[in-house]
């Protein structure tokens, strides 16, 4: 049997990176990002990348590593704060950012993976987001046409996975990962734990293995927390 299992991120990315490709990368902020794959993407040195993701890391973390290594030409994201290099490059015109409303971005990726080339949404009507896009009334309300997104490779972070590529995510680390898994021409998943095939309850699987072409167990997760908020313990 051909195996989807790879020993590490570098091997899992081998042969897939090249200058100018489009890369989807899961995560919301630094939550649920494919840390190992991002590092391997940086180490690949591939240039002029288009990155599709809700964010582009934040200072010193996540996709910032690839950005700081001058590998990114264009970004599709909904929010890029807390990222000084990106700010300065964007203001200097060195990098292109296409801002997408977060739900539109999520739906565009879901559509791309599901073979839907375009759909209509109320989101963004009457705003800069609708400029240059077709608008149209349905049920008396104006809508904007948005198109599906796919990528040359999709980098996905899951909690547990098995050798056929079935994945489960954990808590809010799920976010954009499931849709991106469907929208990569090649989808590479890193997991915290590899479980034996058959150990998942098949009703619990979030991403069926059909969407995952390569899989490996990630290492040394830092899981940096952007805003550590806590409450005081009630005294007895």
């Amino acid at each position: 049997m051909s195996s989807k299992l790879y020993p590490d991120a570098q091997h899992a990315l081998a042969g897939l990176t090249a200058d100018g490709i489009t890369v989807m990368s899961g995560g919301f902020g630094l939550c649920g990002i494919p840390e190992n794959l991002i590092t391997a993407l940086r180490d690949s040195g591939a240039k002029n990348l288009t990155i599709i993701g809700n964010n582009v890391g934040c200072d010193e973390h996540g996709m910032w590593l690839v950005l700081a290594n001058n590998q990114i030409r264009k970004v599709l994201a909904s929010y890029v704060g807390e990222n000084k290099i990106l700010e300065s490059r964007y203001m200097n015109g060195e990098i292109e950012i296409e801002f997408n409303p977060q739900g539109t971005l999520a739906e565009r990726i879901r559509a791309g993976g599901a073979g839907i080339p375009a759909f209509y949404t109320r989101t963004g009507y009457g705003t800069a987001v609708a400029e240059g896009k077709e608008t149209r009334q349905f049920n008396g309300e104006w809508h904007v046409m948005e198109t599906g997104l796919t990528a040359d490779i999709a980098l996905v972070k899951a909690w547990k996975g098995d050798a056929v590529g079935n994945l489960m995510y954990r808590k809010t680390a799920r976010n954009f990962n499931p849709m991106m898994a469907t929208a990569g021409r090649v989808t590479i998943a890193e997991v915290e734990e590899l479980v034996p095939v058959g150990s998942f309850d098949p009703d619990h699987i979030h991403t069926p293995g059909i969407f995952v072409q390569r899989l490996f167990v990630g290492q040394n997760y830092t899981k940096h927390i952007e805003r550590r908020t806590t409450r005081a313990r009630e005294s007895n």
Binding site: Y90, P101, T172
Partner: protein
């Protein structure tokens, strides 16, 4: 003379109803979570993929896989469910969230909202705000009535790039509360903060509004 942030949040919280599913934006709207009336069941939605957000964790119990849309560490509740961003915005866009309370830079008398960018300044992005105002059934904006410069933020029409056109139902400022008809029926002043007079509002408001004070 004017409401505090906490008082603005408390006024916004009066829009909550039993059984509501609610999305709270960053800033003052976050404070609404602290003033949900006792005995009222309100489920908080976080657009990064969670229904039923709980309080901040105890120190030492933070979980990097469990954050809200403001990227703060939070906790789950017994009724919590997790889902993807696509499913999360399906809830928003499909009209399943009853109430969205969010901050604003400018609101117009026709219910336009600007809260995501200032030309010439760094654009951080709109995040989920455009989806929320376009999809949620009732949108409440909480913001200061005026800029520090004194300029009214409640305007005849927004001068900043819009987040949504005709999307605001209620505006809570530190001075007053306005109902806005998204369908072009205009704005109505319905409440004043303690010690604020109609003359104050008239002096500090660029928008046209009907006075409907009790």
């Amino acid at each position: 003379m004017a409401w505090t942030r906490e008082q603005m949040a408390a006024r916004a919280a009066r829009e909550l109803q039993e059984g509501f599913y609610v999305n709270l934006g960053i800033g003052i709207p976050t404070l609404v979570a602290n003033v949900i009336p006792d005995g009222m069941t309100v489920t908080l939605h976080s657009e990064n993929g969670m229904l039923g957000t709980g309080p901040f964790p105890y120190a030492g119990e933070e979980d990097a896989d469990l954050i809200n849309a403001g990227k703060q560490t939070i906790t789950e509740l017994p009724q919590t469910s997790y889902f993807s961003s696509a499913d999360s915005f399906g809830m928003i866009r499909g009209g399943h969230i009853n109430l969205s309370i969010l901050g604003g830079m400018q609101v117009s008398e026709s219910g336009d909202l600007a809260n995501w960018m200032v030309p010439g300044k760094m654009i951080k992005g709109m995040g989920g705000a455009m989806d929320l105002v376009a999809g949620v059934g009732r949108v409440v904006v909480v913001m200061d009535h005026c800029e520090k410069s004194g300029e009214s933020k409640f305007k005849a029409s927004c001068t900043l790039p819009l987040t949504g056109k005709g999307v605001v139902d209620l505006l809570v400022t530190d001075l007053a509360v306005f109902e806005i008809d998204r369908r072009g029926g205009g704005a109505r002043l319905i409440e004043l903060a303690e010690g604020v007079t109609l003359a104050d509002i008239e002096a500090k408001t660029d928008a046209t509004f009907e006075n409907c004070l009790g």
